[in-house]
C-alpha cells in the first residue's frame, strides 16, 4: 500500500524523499567514495547536514539528538572505514535502546564479496549491535526498507537500524512511491499491558509495606516521567533510578532516592535491600545496579514492567511481569492502586537519608570535582547535561540537580568514552533552546576532541567542562583500591593544554585552577554563546564515593570519604 502517485527518481533521490517523509530534519555524517551519489542529491535538498570530523562522532551526535528530542537520529557514512567507524556509536545506541538509523555507502553490488577498495561487510559486523539491518539489493526495495528501518528503530524497544546502500543502488532509477504502513509479520511490539497482570500488580502493591520503585531508561524512552511521578505519589513509594533513568523524577522530589547500584546513594541501596516489593519499570537489572545478584533485594517480591519480554526474568526472577509500554501501564496501574501503608517505611528512609547523605570533604585550596558539578548545576539550571564515561560521569549523576527527563544523556550500557562531546553537539542541534553542557574528563575528552571543529564550523555553542585530574581517573581509583596503588598506564598528565586546544579550533578556552575561579569560568562560557571549553584542574586523586566493590551485595557499600 502506498501514498500518492509514483515518480521516476534515482535511488539517492529516493533516499532523500524517504527521509523527508519520515520527518527527518537533520543528518550527521561524513562523505566518502561510495556515498557520493547520496551527497550529490543532498546538495539540493532542505535537509540539514552536520559534517563531523570522524564518523564515530556522527553516530554519537545522532544518538544525542535522539535522546534529547525523542526523535530518531540519523547518521551517514561511506563504506569500509567510514562504516566501521560508526560501529562504537551504533553499539552505544543499541545498549541504551536509542532510536537511530545509520545509512552507509557500500561498494557496487557487482563487487561485493571481492574485497574491493573500502569494502567491509558492515551488515555482518553490525548484526549483534543493531536491532535490525539491511543490505539493499534492489533499488525498488528502497522505500519499503527505509519505511521499515524507521519503524523498527522507533517502536517497541527502540534501537539502531543500519541500511547498507551499494553505489549502484543509489544511482539506478526507480518508480518512487512511499508505503503507508509496514507489514512485518515477525515484528509486533506489545504496548498495552495485560489487564489481569496490572490488577495482580495492584493487589501486590496493596499488600506491601516497604515498596520501592526502580526506574530505568525505559521510563524516559516511553515519555512516562509524569506518569511515574504520579504513580509514586499515589502509592507513596520511594523511587530510585538507574543511570539512564535519571531525570524520570526530579532530583529534589521528596520520594527520589537518587541512583542505585555501584555508585548509587547508600539510602537507595539500603532501601532496595530492605524492601518487600520491588517495582521495576523500564530497567534491566544490569550488574552495575544489582551487584551480587543472589543478594539483590532478598526480601522483595518483584513486579517488572518492560516492553521487551526478553528482559523479564533474564537476571532476576520476576513474580509479576507486565510486558508493554511504561506510559500505558503506569497510567493503568495508577487507576487500580491506593496509597499503601508506607508511613513507617518512608520514616525509615528519611532516617537513612539524614544519616548517610551523599557527601564529600570540602576544601578551600583544591578544587573538588563534586563542587564543580554543584556549580554547573547552579549556573546551568535546566540544562541538558551530557557526559563521557568515568569518574566525572558518576559525579555528574550524583551532584547535578535534574528537573526533567531527556536532560541527562550518558552512555550507560556500553560505557563509551568519547560519547559526550559529539552527543552534546547532537543534543544542541535537536534542542537549540536548551543550554547543553558536556561534563567531561581529560581522558574521555581526548577521544573525540576533533569535534570542536564541528561545533565551531556549524556554530553549535556547546560547553565542555573538563574535570581534569591528569589521570584516567576511574581506572586509577580501581588501581588504588584493588590493585595496591599500582597506577599502571593511567597517568595522562601533561597530555594537552585544553585552553590552547580550544583556541586552536576557534572555540573559547577557559581555565579554573582555584575553587573561586570555577563559577566565573562557567558563567563566562555560558555568557559567550560560543562553543567553549572550561578546563578545571581538580584534586587529582579524588574518588567516586560511595562505592560497592564489584561482586559485593549493594548494601556492602563503602564510603570513601570517611
Amino acid at each position: 500500500m502506498t501514498t500518492g502517485s509514483t515518480e521516476k527518481v534515482n535511488g539517492a533521490r529516493a533516499l532523500i524523499k524517504c527521509l523527508e517523509m519520515e520527518g527527518v530534519d537533520t543528518l550527521f555524517g561524513y562523505p566518502g567514495g561510495q556515498i557520493i551519489p547520496f551527497y550529490d542529491e543532498l546538495y539540493d535538498s532542505d535537509l540539514r547536514h552536520i559534517l563531523v570530523r570522524h564518523e564515530q562522532a556522527a553516530a554519537h551526535a545522532a544518538d544525542g539528538y535522539a535522546r534529547a528530542t525523542g526523535k530518531t537520529g540519523v547518521c551517514v557514512s561511506t563504506s569500509g572505514p567510514g562504516a566501521t567507524n560508526l560501529v562504537t556509536g551504533i553499539a552505544t545506541a543499541y545498549m541504551d535502546s536509542v532510536p537511530m538509523v545509520a545509512l552507509t555507502g557500500q561498494v557496487p553490488s557487482s563487487m561485493i564479496g571481492n574485497d574491493a577498495f573500502q569494502e567491509a561487510d558492515i551488515k555482518g559486523i553490525t548484526q549483534p549491535i543493531t536491532k535490525h539491518n539491511y543490505l539493499v539489493q534492489d533499488a525498488n526495495e528502497l522505500p519499503r526498507v527505509m519505511k521499515e528501518a524507521f519503524h523498527i528503530a522507533s517502536t517497541g524497544r527502540p534501537g539502531p537500524v543500519l541500511v547498507d546502500l551499494p553505489k549502484d543502488i543509489q544511482i539506478s532509477e526507480i518508480d518512487f512511491s512511499y508505503p503507508d504502513k509496514v507489514e512485518l509479520r515477525g515484528y509486533k511490539p506489545t504496548y498495552k499491558g495485560n489487564l489481569q497482570q496490572v490488577k495482580r500488580a495492584a493487589e501486590e502493591i496493596a499488600k506491601a509495606s516497604r515498596p520501592i520503585i526502580y526506574a530505568g531508561g525505559g521510563v524516559i524512552t516511553s515519555n512516562a516521567a509524569a506518569e511515574l511521578v504520579r504513580f509514586a505519589e499515589t502509592i507513596m513509594a520511594p523511587v530510585t533510578t538507574t543511570l539512564t533513568g535519571i531525570g524520570a523524577i526530579p532530583t529534589e522530589h521528596p520520594l527520589n532516592l537518587g541512583m542505585l547500584g555501584m555508585h548509587g546513594t547508600k539510602y537507595a541501596n539500603y532501601a532496595i535491600q530492605e524492601s518487600d516489593l520491588l517495582i521495576a519499570v523500564g530497567a534491566r537489572f544490569d550488574d552495575r545496579v544489582t551487584g551480587k545478584l543472589e543478594s539483590f533485594a532478598p526480601n522483595a517480591r518483584v513486579i517488572h514492567i518492560d516492553i521487551d519480554p526478553a528482559e523479564i526474568s533474564k537476571n532476576v526472577p520476576v513474580n509479576i511481569p507486565i510486558v508493554g509500554d511504561a506510559k500505558h501501564i503506569l497510567k493503568a496501574l495508577t487507576k487500580y492502586v491506593k496509597c499503601c501503608n508506607s508511613e513507617l517505611w518512608l520514616a525509615k528512609i528519611i532516617e537513612w537519608k539524614t544519616e548517610y547523605p551523599l557527601r564529600y570533604r570540602k576544601e578551600s585550596d583544591v578544587i573538588k570535582p563534586q563542587f564543580v558539578v554543584e556549580q554547573i548545576s547552579e549556573v546551568c539550571k535546566d540544562a541538558i547535561v551530557v557526559t563521557e564515561v568515568g569518574q566525572h560521569q558518576m559525579w555528574a549523576a550524583q551532584y547535578f540537580k535534574f528537573s526533567e527527563p531527556r536532560t541527562f544523556l550518558t552512555s550507560g550500557g556500553l560505557g563509551t568514552m568519547g560519547y559526550g562531546y559529539p552527543a552534546a553537539i547532537g543534543a544542541k542541534v535537536g534542542r537549540p533552546d536548551k543550554l547543553v553542557v558536556d561534563i567531561s574528563g581529560d581522558g574521555s575528552f581526548q577521544m573525540n576532541s576533533q569535534e570542536l571543529a564541528t561545533a565551531v564550523q556549524n556554530d553549535i555553542p556547546v560547553i565542555a567542562v573538563i574535570l581534569n585530574n591528569g589521570y584516567l581517573g576511574m581506572v586509577r581509583q580501581w588501581q588504588e583500591l584493588f590493585f595496591d596503588r599500582r597506577y599502571s598506564c593511567t597517568d595522562i598528565s601533561g597530555s594537552v593544554d585544553f585552553v590552547k586546544l580550544a583556541e586552536a579550533y576557534g572555540a573559547l578556552g577557559l581555565r579554573a585552577e582555584k575553587p573561586s575561579e570555577v563559577r566565573p569560568a562557567i558563567e563566562e562560557a555560558v555568557k559567550s554563546g560560543r562553543p567553549a571549553v572550561v578546563d578545571v584542574i581538580i584534586e587529582c586523586e579524588a574518588n567516586v564515593s560511595p562505592m560497592v566493590p564489584a561482586g559485593a551485595a549493594i548494601n556492602e557499600i563503602l564510603d570513601l570519604e570517611d
Binding site: Q127, H132, L135, L184, D308, P309, A310, I312, K314
Partner: protein
Amino acid sequence: MKHTLAVLVENRSGVLSRVAGLFSRRGYNIDSLAVGVTEDPDVSRMTIVVHGDDSVLEQVKKQLNKLVEVIKVSDLASEDTVGRELALFKVAADENSRAEIMQITDIFRARIVDVGPKSVVVEVTGDEDKILAIETLLQKFGIKEMVRTGKIAISRGSKKV
C-alpha cells in the same frame, strides 16, 4: 535437558546467520540445526535442538522472537512430536563383512545405497537413538565417513505450529 524448537523465519538471505549468531553470542548450545523451505515459499522452517535448563530455554525463545525475521517459535514437546534424522555412513566392507552389514541394515530398516569393492554406503532414517544404535554396530567394521542432517520434527495430529 534437550528441547526441539520449530522456528518459522522469513525465507531471505542472512536469516540463518542471524540465528546462528544469536546462539553463539549469547552462549547457547545448539545440538543440531536443520533448515528448509515450507509449504509457503516465503517461509523457511528451522528445527533447532538445544540443551539447557528452563530459564535458558525461555531466554532462547525470547531472544529468537526478538529477531525481526523470526515469525514464530514453538517448543515441540517430545511426546507429541515425530522427530527424524537422516544419516549416511560409509563403512569399510569386503566379501567377508558385507553380508553382516546387510543384515544389520535390514534390522534397522536402513538401506544400502552404494556398494564399492571396499565399502558400502548405508542410509538410515530415524530418531537419534536409532542412529546412535546403528552407528555403534557399524563401528566394528570401520566407519570411514559419516554425515547427518540434524533433526527435523513435526507435531502429531492436525495441529500446526
